[in-house]
Symmetry: D2
Subunit: 375 residues, 4 copies
């Protein structure tokens, strides 16, 4: 059940980098959600490659064809299904890879698991291209959440070996200036200076036939208190389960995250106060989650992405046919840094996790019939 | 489906800190696993409280009663069920908490979610005590994995505000000296000096009526290549989903983890070489996982635990009945640092995740009938 | 995931006929359900053995001990867990069965599946005794549904080789006289005459060292329209999945069921009319379900139970040790007919299926916070 | 999670009768299965409409386009995805249905559940057309099972108000004459005479603007003993859960099924004898399943299909806009009897259920690496 996610929602992602098409089905989505296709396409464009010299030169329009689940612009209660045709593939680039597994890629474990039957072209089902259908489903979840007052934003928190840092997003309430800047800057950063420096870092790696990684921070504002469950279906578990489905992610943390290990309890505990007759945490070390359940403050999390494994340098590998050492030069068109394009993917993943939890708490019928959340 | 984990295995954990008992059922466990109860109890004792002045003074024997699933010392194919009676509870300690949510605890989100029906005594179902049944199930999974050549060990990687660091576990192959030291030192550390320093750090926090957190590293040796699945059921996803079920965990990372964000691809990629006719990665930045699937090298991961939220100091909270600000002093017996006792919990969680993936790949009948893994 | 049921609810059943205890955990149950323990015990007593000479003479009190999930008489949002101690076991009765599989029992396929590690005493995990924890969970679901206006009743529709038939339950609306009669008659029948005749049939089989089967009809009144899902999570699928978990069930049908195969469409289609400003089907061939979704009429279904396989006669079997033919006489205490005791089990199974579907549609938070269903 | 099926396999079905396309994804399918596309198309043709005057005149080629999961004719381990374009739709036929729910169809409960957002054209997601993707996935499962020695065949067991009966399939071993006859006769029957009589019955109903139902029997030969699980994941539960996903199914039974309720235990129990050094049941009342687990004899089950609800006669319905009674004449092209076309659907459903159970028992890696079943 590798490529299926969710409790109420059942997102199934299919496709390989060079198969006729990629796509997804999204079962369990309530009827009556108003889908704005134009905004969805704008969202998908933020992930699409080929728009900037920091990303791969493979150009793909990423225009989904919806084949089911939407009638007259509204979800109709049946599973949503959408596909994106693959074009502009150059499979000949990958012939050598049948024999020589690329360091840092899934080639070798896939060879063991699938016994040689796996599709190696372009990374097959392991390709970062599979985040496009994740963004289709996530983009719709984002719109559904927005109708409930939830807004999700991500940005590059830090990038590269010199750890260029962006200004963190406000963990207490949405800051419109920050949110606008992320969409306006040349890279999705709050700070224009950070964006400029990160861009230079990526270009330098590209020129060196190398690659860099980074950390993405994502915040969900307006999430009601009381969502999520104890133990294995907490909001952290749900987000982590989907986020590790994004290629290259090697770490996930919530609130102050790994930093919490270096605080005293007296520093890390978020105090409560009454404000306007409501219980309000006064800080957000917890990242909006305690015991797996939302506190009413923004949900704050970060994910670490490793540097793209496909680099143009000579790398030590093996020849599986001859069972001998063999060097490899990865050809094809690759991103020197996947982090900028992964920013909307983080938003999509977060939206799917939270929307699933919201449906589980409030019910699908409640959603369709537009009854507001009783809290 | 909060407290249920697994694809083939279905671990259900039940109980509250002060309910008559806590326990678990473990469905899907193959028949024919030889359960060594003595070793299991030794494993549980590593988690049990009250054995050292760095932990809570609440003493619990944590001796499970097995009520189903084991016949003549072997699993019989039916779900395993075990309970641990709760004793030595002092519920009067918790009366004030009905009104005043403890900062850093699940009290407040639970109040919103459960509308006041939740069991507040001792943290209820959110209590760290619920890791005892996790260790029962995980302890059996550890024994089943050992029979297949898999060994799992964890230790405190770093602790406290001054970030006292232990020697990392060897990420390439098991080091017997390291593994023995963890069990011999006063705290589960590879380095005796680190153990001593960490112990002092915890005692200092205790004397200050405060608490500290830390990072635990866990390594699974002997995991065959080819386990796990792409996207949402990769080994990372599986481990993360169970690990965020451990109270106080705020971050999870694999291999070099967040550090990968600061490496170049040329540094982070693990080269392949042929050794003894087999494909061998030459380093383990990946933590033994690529594309969600094991590479044949040890699976390496870390989790960050926040400082225990229960501290003896005055903390700002609210009175929910009067809806006004109110200070709180958490009474009762609490751990100034939960990290040492969480070390076997990390091993248990890792074992359950890997055993579940192994059963999915190799089948339950294959396991019962003792056919070795065809790889 | 053999003994786990449900989408939102996760019912885990554990135990063997002669293990120290049997029990269940019920995860996903909302907080705030008022549990009437006295009524629950009355419900369990309807299933318990030893109260009538038509059933086994093994006497068991079936008094559950609740070890988690309920505080002050209300569900607290944590998983409910309950156990029933096994007593009065006579395992020596079953020694011969290790070698000689009983015809009609799971002994032989269990031997193949579990490789000899299975618990054979009393049928192990395959025992009808495992319906006791199903009734604990189902009894609570029944109470939760009643608070929403849903009432579930079952009776013996027909019994034995001469097909003694009871009066069917009204498929359009609850008939109080019928519902009271089921509880008052010596067997759970609408008609006193049918109950008398069925009783005689069972006693005749008992005296002949033989057994008889029967059909149970179950009706859920007051189920709101719009529950359930298309395809694989329709109300039929959900009920069938749990009902085939009851030992001895060999068939399930809804509405006119297999009889629908002998009707013309013009006879089988339930006409609609407007009554009191509402859409009302005028008949209920559909058993209250179309396309997997409830129509607003009662949900009507039947299950066929085979005659108890344990009979006192000589039966042809094999000796597995010697691999030769061998006759078998099943000793121990057995029901000559399991049908009467299975009537509350049908109600319990139906309640769990419908409650799970209701929670999925309306949400767990909606339930806890007592918001009525928006329809 | 309405339209998703399976434990290891995750079949997701999407599409509506008149959406741009219908299709499925099949996650969890092992790599290395040799897919014979020609045989698959022949299998799909058995379900496709418009080939005989007993079925609807809507002609659809049902030629799937595989967009993922297959490389060079073998499954590659990634999810299989396939779509079938919808053509030849006449949506204007369905305009009246927005206001007037068709008796016997899902129109009315769908209106309640989806609040008017559902796609009513052609029955939307509730259409029998959605069995086409079920047959794509099931056809591949059939081929995978055949490679393991499992053969599945179905036929019309009885049809219509006068209950025209076909010769039952041999429940002990495959009979090649029977299996060939089913494919050769004008309707899928063992007996040519039965086929002729059934055909006449359907044509009579058609001429009367009415419809008829029937019962389909399906047998799986060669299923190894020991497959399936106790309680809720027995083979009966698994088959029932998928079979009730086929539109119009109102009952499912195994072995002698409802007939078991009329047998004595001494008649219903299948005796064991040793044959050729193996344990062999001597009859098959159990339908090859005891305690949810296969016995080694063929798995035998039947499903009852109601008469097609779409009939050309005037039917009493309501006008939802005016909330008043209103007659309805269903226009469009419809099958006077869906039973013949549902025969391959039964085989597909059975294959998916058994293949999923086989993968769970033996493991996906075992399958890919072609290790035969250790039994």
């Amino acid at each position: 059940m590798a490529s299926v996610y969710g409790n109420i929602l059942k997102l199934s992602i299919f496709g390989q980098s060079h198969s006729p098409a990629i796509g997804c089905s999204l079962d369990g989505i309530p009827a009556g959600i108003d889908v704005d296709f134009e905004r969805l396409q704008e969202f998908l464009n933020r992930r699409a490659p080929g728009r900037d010299e920091t990303s791969t030169t493979r150009r793909e329009s990423d225009a989904p064809e919806f084949i089911a689940g939407i009638t007259n612009g509204f979800t109709n209660g049946a599973p949503i299904a959408a596909i994106i045709r693959n074009g502009n593939t150059r499979s000949q680039d990958y012939d050598e890879l049948r024999r020589k597994p690329r360091p840092g890629h899934a080639d070798w474990p896939a060879q063991v698991k699938y016994g040689g039957f796996q599709d190696v072209a372009g990374g097959g089902h392991f390709s970062g291209r599979l985040t496009a259908p994740l963004c289709i489903a996530g983009g719709i979840a984002l719109q559904a959440l927005e109708a409930r007052g939830v807004r999700i934003a991500a940005h590059i928190a830090s990038l590269g070996p010199s750890r260029i840092e962006d200004t963190p997003l406000d963990p207490m309430k949405p800051n419109e200036v920050q949110l606008a800047a992320i969409l306006a800057n040349p890279l999705p950063c709050v700070s224009a200076a950070a964006a400029t420096n990160m861009r230079a870092c990526i270009m330098e790696a590209k020129n060196d036939l190398d690659s860099v990684g980074g950390v993405i921070e994502c915040v969900a504002y307006g999430v009601p208190a009381g969502l999520g469950d104890p133990m294995f279906d907490g909001i952290e578990n749900r987000i982590a389960r989907i986020v590790f489905g994004i290629p290259a992610v090697k770490g996930v943390e919530f609130g102050v995250g790994f930093g919490a290990a270096e605080l005293h309890g007296s520093e890390n505990n978020d105090a409560y106060r009454v404000e306007d007759g409501r219980v309000c945490p006064q800080s957000n070390s917890a990242g909006g989650i305690l015991g797996g359940i939302t506190t009413g403050l923004p949900v704050v999390w970060r994910m670490a992405l490793k540097p793209t494994p496909s680099i143009g340098r000579h790398q030590p590998s093996v020849d599986l046919d001859r069972m001998e050492n063999a060097d490899l030069v990865v050809r094809g068109r690759h991103d020197p840094c996947i982090v900028p394009r992964a920013v909307p993917v983080a938003e999509a993943a977060c939206a799917l996790a939270l929307f699933d939890a919201l449906l589980e708490a409030d019910g699908t019928s409640t959603f369709t019939h537009q009854t507001p959340r009783a809290e």
